[in-house]
């Protein structure tokens, strides 16, 4: 049995830890603290937790005010509300100002599940990475989430961290080295490279195993910082394998796939394919069912890899 780690639970635990170490950490939520797990911070530090009610725009700009006064605010709600409902607040008061606000969402992508399309953010990466000054990150497991949150104590500037509702397979150990803007090679391979983020990293790792059984030696890169993206890692992969597949739980328009395509197109053109949500909204269903319906399974990733390899080899 693979070990699972909660992304949002890891977030809440990390907040409670750094909150004990640094009195400037404040946390704001919009009536979803039980879901985002900022409640774990709220329980320990009620004076530094601010529930803003169902008011995401006020949430974001108030967080900016805290940051302007020297605090390190974490502002959390579901991904669609953090980046969609409050987009222009994040733009004007957080990105434009370069303030140290950490917008940390949960419930991104279709693995939100039963709540359905209204609640499944498939465009948040696109929105956030289009904002100047904004750093955009997606943790691949709970350990990486914790490392990211700890990094936020010293990091300068606005950040969006895309969290999730579901537990992800544990990928990393406690000694995992996380660095903002640095891709991590999870597996070397010479036939093709999968570049993934978030939940799709563990899915892609399983895809690599499927491909191995078929005789393909496929590499996997965890691109946990979407912006600024690690161009060196992408170009290196393109040069070594000349076949790239991206995988993220996001619309194929504007997400990790687009970010990688931009680098490839400008610096090292090579064949690529994007595994992601094909420009359609999500639906209700269990997360597992939706992952299948929306073609985000390890089999879907391995199929995409073989398609690119065949195309590259002119078959």
């Amino acid at each position: 049995m693979e070990e699972l780690l909660g992304i949002r639970e890891s977030y809440g635990e990390a907040l409670a830890q750094i909150g004990a170490e640094n009195k400037d950490v404040v946390v704001l939520d919009a009536d979803l603290s039980g879901s985002t797990k900022t409640s774990l911070f709220a329980k320990k530090f009620p004076d530094r937790f601010f529930n803003m009610g169902v008011a995401e725009q006020d949430l974001m700009t108030t967080a900016a005010g805290f940051a302007a006064a020297g605090k390190i605010p974490f502002a959390s709600t579901f991904a669609i509300f953090a980046t969609g409902k409050a987009f222009e607040q994040v733009r004007q008061s957080i990105a434009y100002t370069k303030l140290n606000v950490r917008v940390v969402s949960t419930h991104s992508g279709i693995t939100v599940g039963e709540d359905g399309g209204s609640h499944q953010a498939i465009e948040d990466i696109a929105l956030m990475r289009s904002l100047p000054n904004m750093t955009v990150m997606v943790p691949a497991d709970g350990i990486e989430m914790k490392k990211m949150i700890r990094h936020m104590l010293d990091f300068k500037g606005p950040v969006y961290i895309r969290g999730a509702r579901n537990k992800y397979p544990k990928l990393f150990d406690d000694d995992y080295k996380f660095e903002v803007g640095k891709a991590v090679t999870i597996r070397e391979g010479k036939d093709a490279t999968v570049i993934a983020c978030g939940y799709m990293v563990s899915q892609s790792l399983k895809a690599c195993d499927i491909l191995k059984e078929k005789g393909y030696d496929v590499g996997l890169v965890n691109m946990s910082t979407i912006k600024p993206i690690d161009t060196g890692a992408i170009i290196h992969a393109a040069k070594v394998t000349k076949a790239i597949v991206t995988a993220d739980e996001h619309n194929v328009i504007g997400g990790l796939g687009s970010a990688v395509a931009e680098v490839l197109g400008e610096s090292s053109p090579c064949l690529m394919k994007r595994v992601g949500i094909k420009d359609i909204f999500g639906k209700s269903g269990s997360a597992g069912e939706l992952v299948k319906r929306y073609n985000l399974t390890p089999g879907d990733v391995s199929d995409a890899v073989m398609q690119v390899i065949r195309k590259r080899d002119g078959q």
Binding site: Q57, T62, F66, A69, Y96, T97
Partner: protein
């Protein structure tokens, strides 16, 4: 600082001249809303606020947020006169490379505490600053000026709830109630009245004054200082474009700068009379 009322009136008159002069030079920008709010800014920066222009980041200082960011010329003229930066900068308003952007940028202008421009956000930001000060046990007070058209933004009322809920009494907000917005009279575009009742219903301490009257502004600020356990809003009845007959009370001059001729006549008008001006 101890400036008396006469002195503050003189400052406001000088700032009005600075505002229309810089707008004329920039050839674009917001005349009406800068002139309606300048008496409030004068009272804040030359009497009320605990600030040090030589040390803009002074700990525990009071803070100001211009929620109606398009009145930037009024803030810039005020900050320059207070000594935050060289008055010569005013001539660069809205020009490429200037620190004086069309709307205030906190990363460029010493003394600007929050970048604004998108209406509706200033009160939320001020709440954050005021709450941070409370956490630190700092004496900081935070001041905001909103527009009356801006009251139509939903986020204002989210922030109004927040300030009441968290008993943010180190916060004092003004509504520059000049009755006009871009497309016409506020009450015809999207009525906001009864405005005082609305704020009262949201749990605020409400003071209604003539916002172009220095004595009334100072008195209201004193009352706000004394008000504990809840935030104060000062609904300041003003005249948009106050100070010059070419623009006073005229919708058109929301975002239109004075022409050369209008400037010339306006300067004559304000310089030529001992009492500040007629409306």
């Amino acid at each position: 600082m101890g400036n008396d009322i006469k002195e503050l009136e003189d400052i406001a008159r000088q700032l009005r001249i600075d505002i229309i002069t810089m707008l004329n030079k920039a050839k674009s920008g917001h005349t009406g809303g800068s002139l309606s709010a300048i008496d409030i800014l004068t009272c804040l920066y030359f009497k009320e606020m605990n600030i040090d222009p030589a040390d803009p980041d002074k700990p525990d200082r009071d803070k100001f947020v211009l929620s109606k960011g398009h009145a930037a010329p009024a803030l810039y003229a005020t900050l320059a006169r207070a000594g935050y930066f060289d008055k010569a900068e005013l001539a660069t308003l809205r020009k490429y490379g200037s620190i004086l952007q069309g709307h205030p940028d906190m990363n460029l202008v010493p003394g600007v505490e929050m970048s604004t421009g998108s209406l509706g956000q200033g009160l939320s930001a001020a709440n954050g600053m005021a709450l941070a000060a409370k956490l630190d046990g700092a004496p900081t007070r935070v001041y905001v000026i909103m527009g009356d058209g801006e009251q139509q933004e939903g986020q204002i009322w989210e922030a109004a709830m927040t300030a009441h809920h968290y008993k943010i009494d180190n916060l004092c907000a003004f509504v520059d109630n000049n009755g006009l917005q871009i497309d016409g009279e506020v009450e015809k575009i999207m009525g906001i009245e009864p405005l005082a009742d609305k704020w009262r219903a949201f749990g605020w301490h409400v003071i209604s004054i003539n916002g172009n009257d220095i004595a009334q502004i100072l008195e209201a600020l004193d009352e706000a200082d004394r008000t504990k356990h809840r935030p104060t809003v000062i609904i300041a009845k003003t005249v948009k474009g106050k100070g010059f007959s070419f623009c006073a009370g005229k919708v058109k001059y929301h975002g239109v700068p004075p022409s050369d001729q209008e400037l010339e006549e306006a300067l004559k008008e304000i310089g030529g009379s001992a009492t500040p001006h007629q409306i």
